[in-house]
């Protein structure tokens, strides 16, 4: 075999093939190649017309994106028309929505006719922040000044218990004061009793003066027997009784009590002192004895008591 395969000498190794004429055995129709160029050119024109016969064109990469665009559109349509969105509106909601909104606007305008009329001073909102901060600073200053007054430590913790203790003490004092009682209508009758013993005495006859007063003040009389004053008083009383007896016997004219010694003596005693005396020395039996006009008064005891009292007050 020859080394140079590009040379036609390689056929020498193949006798059978070498004997065959290497001429092209194929034929073409007459004038084929004369018309082939025209045929090819016509074919190319047809191909161009076929590709551009419609005259329509599409954007670049239109068909590459067409599939995805169609699928996206389908998903969007499904989402828009989906009945499973879960959101529903009342029947005829959208039909009535326009009129409802207009009605609402009308009502709002009627309720707030001056809504548009409100205004604020110029630069109000620009200065609002600083104004608020100034106000806060002032409030804090005031609060700090108020806090300059101090109270003892734990004052407010113990204040409640202190107030309660004070209230308890006050109640206890009041309850003790109220523990003393007087008979019913005591103070209403007291004034009348005193008047009966003093001012109204002139209206009472000598017989009206009752002994029970002396009897009731028996303890006091007993004490007086031992005193020298009682002796003098007793003598004065006897003298007085004798004098009165003489006067009564000698005069038929009615007795003028304002000329009597007792009356003169009593008239010099202040009413308040008499009231004090009666309050100190009167007891439960005084009233019925005063009211008992059938008994005669023990003048001697009365004078003695009066004398003792005058001495004690002087």
């Amino acid at each position: 075999m020859k080394s140079d395969m590009d040379n036609r000498e390689w056929l020498d190794d193949y006798e059978s093939l070498k004997r065959i004429d290497a001429k092209n055995p194929f034929l073409v129709p007459p004038g084929y190649f004369d018309e082939l160029a025209q045929h090819i050119t016509s074919r190319i024109r047809l191909e161009e017309l076929k590709n551009s016969s419609t005259g329509f064109s599409v954007p670049e990469n239109y068909f590459d994106q067409l599939s995805s665009n169609i699928q996206s559109r389908i998903r969007v349509e499904d989402a828009v028309n989906s009945q499973d969105s879960g959101f529903t509106v009342p029947e005829n909601y959208f039909d009535e929505l326009g009129s409802n909104i207009q009605s609402r606007i009308t009502i709002e305008e009627a309720l707030n006719p001056e809504h548009q009329g409100f205004s604020v001073p110029e630069n109000y909102f620009d200065e609002l922040s600083s104004n608020i901060q100034s106000r806060i600073a002032i409030e804090q200053q005031i609060s700090n000044e108020a806090e300059s007054f101090t109270v003892p430590e734990n004052y407010f913790e113990t204040l409640s218990s202190n107030i309660q203790s004070r209230i308890a003490i006050e109640e206890h004092i009041n309850s003790e004061a109220e523990s003393f009682t007087v008979p019913e209508n005591y103070f209403e009758q007291l004034s009348q009793n005193i008047l009966n013993k003093t001012v109204n005495e002139e209206q009472v006859t000598a017989k009206v003066v009752t002994l029970p007063v002396a009897v009731k003040k028996k303890g006091i009389v007993r004490r007086m027997f031992a005193s020298p004053t009682f002796r003098y008083a007793t003598a004065a009383c006897f003298a007085l009784i004798l004098g009165i007896g003489v006067v009564i016997r000698n005069a038929d004219a009615p007795v003028k009590h304002d000329q009597s010694f007792l009356h003169e003596q009593l008239s010099t005693v202040p009413v308040d002192e008499i009231k004090s005396y009666l309050q100190l020395h009167a007891d439960a039996g005084d009233t019925p004895s005063l009211m008992d006009g059938g008994q005669q008064i023990n003048s001697a005891n009365l004078d003695a008591d009066l004398s003792d009292y005058l001495e004690s007050t002087n």
Partner: protein, 184 residues
């Protein structure tokens, strides 16, 4: 053929839209027969060859603006023609659902019935022997035997190394020789 224009002039005129048709006509006149015979020897039938040669030049028209000057123009067109031939034969096999050997017999029948075959008995035997070869070996043999192309040029057409082409050609020749000896 003596008035053939250089490929560079054809390509230059084709770049200009005003002279594009003129350039393509020059290209057709220069290469139409080479491309036709390259196809005809593969598909045997003239009508099939005629369709394919038109398809090949339509593709050349569409893609010639993007042709790179680092390859020769005719080897580029041979590659297009070779691919079209192989595609056609594969479609024919798939269309008729027949094995490769049956395709060879069918091509041999069309060769026998063809009125456009002027070869003698020996040439007919040679064509029958070629039809027994695989398409790629037949391409290599035809370009070497009939077109007298160099291995480097065949390598540019088929995208196969020169060594592989030499082995393939050697194998094809041996098969043909054996076929011819068997029929003597």
């Amino acid at each position: 053929m003596s008035l053939q224009v250089e490929d560079s002039e054809i390509l230059s005129k084709f770049q200009d839209e005003k002279t594009r048709n003129e350039a393509f006509n020059l290209l057709l006149k220069k290469y139409q027969q080479k491309i036709y015979w390259h196809i005809r020897r593969m598909v045997v039938d003239h009508d099939d060859a005629d369709d394919l040669v038109q398809d090949v030049f339509i593709k050349v028209w569409k893609n010639l603006l993007g042709f790179r000057n680092d390859a020769q123009l005719y080897t580029w067109m041979y590659r297009i023609a070779s691919n079209e031939c192989i595609t056609f034969l594969n479609k024919k096999k798939q269309k008729n659902n027949i094995p490769l050997d049956d395709v060879a017999y069918e091509l041999a029948d069309s060769l026998a019935d063809s009125s456009y075959f002027n070869g003698d008995q020996a040439q007919r035997k040679l064509q029958e022997a070629l039809l027994t070869l695989p398409e790629k070996q037949r391409l290599v043999f035809n370009m070497k035997y009939y077109d007298d192309m160099k291995y480097e040029e065949i390598s540019d057409v088929l995208g196969t190394s020169v060594g592989a082409l030499k082995a393939s050609f050697h194998l094809a020749v041996k098969k043909i020789e054996a076929f011819l000896l068997s029929r003597d």
